[in-house]
């Protein structure tokens, strides 16, 4: 085996690779065909609303995956990941706003409607360049990444960890929410950015575009999973586990705990930003509500429910909790928050490894074997 193939083999078992390929096939080929090519009358037809829903869930799954990287593997529970998601979303929203052009209510060639409404004469400098898709996508990664770099550097350098880190990240997203609510910020204030027309020339409302966005979300999630797997199966992944267990000891070995955490935090923020950017065109709006502290806490619930530190678990957690939410808000919207709270308590008390831990436990019991968790991550095959 060459060095690259042997490295890929340490990331996942052949079975794992096959499962990933199969999942990608389902989301990027089978489901689109069932929606677009199978006629609506057929029992195999995938309804349009399901495409939007799945696309949204895939974005949430990517956000949960991002949080798992920093929480599950580096032990730093960020309760501000919603902020990185929202910032990525805003960057995408700015691109989509610029695409509207003269089709806005006020028909201004460059200024978005809300700026005309505020009597602004020209585009603020930070809106420059967002008419270019490539630039906007760069910003989708750069803005959350840079915020995480600065914020993380200040926090990790001062050895802020545990609950204190959670609190300041929560404060960060709250502060951003208040800032984005202000009209003077130039991001549409309370209403945020909406009324998008098209993306890369495709009409945003058309079913084909929606399917395309779902496929893009599935591919992005798969790539994000691979990036995360690469990190956690590298020696850095083992350094992170060591940091989680005995942070001080790692320093005396000569590893910079600050740098290790920072790298993972920035990477995690970038992934969250991409997830947000994919989310916004699918829901058609981004507003300051996305920064709300409760959103970020909910992401932590998805991760905990799915199984912290497993990468796959948080994906399952995000999808199942959101599916449950869609279901409950359908017939008993008042009940949902209680269900969510109860779920979190139950998982914390009885399922420390989440759904995935439960499934693995069942599998091992069926096989009658006890598995040591270490053997799996050991990168010395």
């Amino acid at each position: 085996m060459g060095p690259i193939t042997s490295r890929l083999a340490t990331m996942m078992t052949p079975k794992g690779w096959a499962a990933l390929a199969a999942a990608l096939l389902v989301f990027a080929v089978v489901l689109p065909v069932l929606n677009l090519a199978v006629p609506p009358g057929s029992p195999f037809h995938l309804p349009d609303f399901a495409v939007s829903l799945i696309g949204k869930y895939l974005c949430f799954a990517m956000l949960a995956l991002a949080l798992d990287l920093i929480w599950g593997f580096a032990g730093a529970l960020s309760l501000g990941h919603g902020a990185f998601f929202a910032l990525g979303g805003y960057c995408m929203g700015m691109y989509l706003m610029r695409q509207i052009g003269e089709r806005g209510v006020y028909g201004h060639p460059t200024l978005p409607d809300f700026m005309v409404f505020l009597d602004w004469d020209e585009l603020p400098w930070y809106w420059y360049g967002f008419d270019n898709f490539g630039f906007a996508m760069l910003m989708v990664m750069l803005v959350p990444g840079l915020l995480a770099l600065i914020f993380g550097w200040l926090a990790f350098r001062s050895r802020i960890s545990g609950v204190y880190f959670s609190i300041i990240t929560q404060a960060m997203t709250f502060a951003l929410m208040l800032a984005f609510f202000r009209n003077e910020m130039g991001f549409g204030g309370n209403n945020g950015l909406t009324d998008f027309k098209d993306i890369l020339g495709f009409t945003i409302q058309s079913q084909q575009t929606r399917v395309g966005l779902m496929i893009a979300s599935a591919v992005a999630l798969a790539l994000a999973l691979l990036v995360c797997l690469f990190v956690v199966t590298s020696k850095l992944g083992r350094v992170l586990v060591a940091v989680r267990d005995a942070e001080n000891r790692v320093r005396f070995l000569g590893y910079s705990v600050t740098h290790a955490k920072l790298l993972v935090f920035v990477l995690s923020a970038v992934l969250a930003g991409i997830a947000g950017a994919l989310y916004v065109p699918q829901v058609g709006i981004i507003n300051p509500g996305e920064f709300s502290p409760a959103n970020s806490i909910e992401v932590a619930v998805w991760v905990a429910v799915g199984g912290r530190g497993t990468l796959l678990g948080p994906i399952l957690g995000a999808v199942s909790v959101n599916a449950a939410e869609s279901y409950f808000t359908g017939f008993a919207p008042d009940l949902w928050l209680f269900v969510l709270g109860g779920l979190f308590i139950t998982v914390t008390l009885f399922l420390p490894q989440g759904i995935l831990g439960l499934l693995r436990g069942l599998r091992d019991r069926l096989r009658g074997t006890a598995r040591t968790p270490v053997a799996e991550t050991a990168g010395h095959a």
Binding site: P3, R7, V231, S234, K235, L236, R238, V239, V241, A242, R244, D245, A246, N248, R249, R251, F252, L253, G254, Y255, S256, V257, H259, A260, L262, L263, T372, P373, V374, A375, A378, G379, H380
Partner: protein, 272 residues
């Protein structure tokens, strides 16, 4: 250990006076030079004008009653604690008081803590892999893979510390003594210039203690080692130059026998 001191009470102390050890001065062979270091915590002087010289290639044991400042001294050398006064120089001209733990570890000073702190979730092999001498930069660590010679080195160390057949087990499953050995192995594989061992035989059985003494003597052939210890039997086994700390400064220094027979040392250990 009071009883050890008591055993030697009857013997004639070497040297007549109870004069403190003369202040040491560094030579060109000096690896570590602690010069007049003081540290206080809320008014309590953990180290009081402590001076100590360790030569390159030396094995040194440091003893002293609880609160004598042994661990604080190690904290100062490894950058965990900043001294209020004094200087600590390493390898001649490197001022350790200006560096943090990470930088000091990268200079080649390895430390074993009092309580064994191996990474319990990682396997024995992975623990050694983390400790192995290699670049520590975060991007290097992200992309690096073990080289064949590093594998061989890990195998070698596994043999030295006697854990070759437990390499794939989680370190958390090892016995107390085995964890201590693994930690010593992790120090060795860093190939440090200076090893600091804080109570390496604490909580070990007699047999494990004996084995550890052999291990340390073996290591000391090629490394400079400082051992902080309570166990006098173990200190005698090592038979190295011994420094006695008391109330944050050096009380006596010399061979194990000389130190044990020192009247001030006897007085301090007996507490009267």
């Amino acid at each position: 250990m009071p009883e050890d001191a008591a055993l030697t009470l009857a013997e004639e102390p070497q040297g007549s006076g109870a004069a403190p050890a003369p202040a040491p001065s560094p030579t060109h062979e000096t690896l570590l030079y602690i010069d007049g270091v003081s540290v206080s915590f809320d008014g309590f002087k953990a180290l009081n004008n402590l001076s100590l010289v360790v030569e390159a290639g030396e094995l040194r044991t440091i003893i002293g009653p609880n609160g004598a400042g042994k661990t604080t001294m190690m904290d100062v050398v490894t950058g965990k604690t900043r001294p209020d006064h004094g200087a600590v120089s390493f390898n001649g001209d490197i001022d350790l008081t200006k560096l943090d733990e990470v930088a000091i570890a990268r200079l080649g000073i390895g430390r074993k803590f009092q309580r064994p702190t191996v990474f319990e979730k990682l396997s024995v092999w992975e623990n050694l892999d983390l400790a192995i001498k290699d670049r520590r930069g975060v991007f290097h660590v992200l992309f690096s893979r073990l080289k064949a010679e590093q594998r061989r080195r890990i195998e070698e160390i596994l043999e030295v510390i006697g854990l070759a057949d437990r390499r794939h087990e989680a370190a958390g499953l090892l016995s107390h003594g085995q964890k201590q050995w693994l930690e010593i192995g992790m120090l060795l594989i860093q190939d440090p210039q200076l090893l600091l061992l804080d109570e390496p035989v604490a909580g070990m059985t007699d047999k494990e203690t004996e084995r550890t003494a052999e291990l340390i003597l073996d290591i000391a052939r090629q490394h400079t080692v400082i051992v902080v210890e309570h166990d006098m039997a173990f200190v005698r086994d090592l038979g190295a130059k011994t420094t006695v700390l008391h109330e944050g400064s050096v009380l006596a220094e010399g061979t194990v026998e000389a130190v044990q027979n020192h009247p001030r040392v006897i007085e301090v250990y007996l507490g009267r």
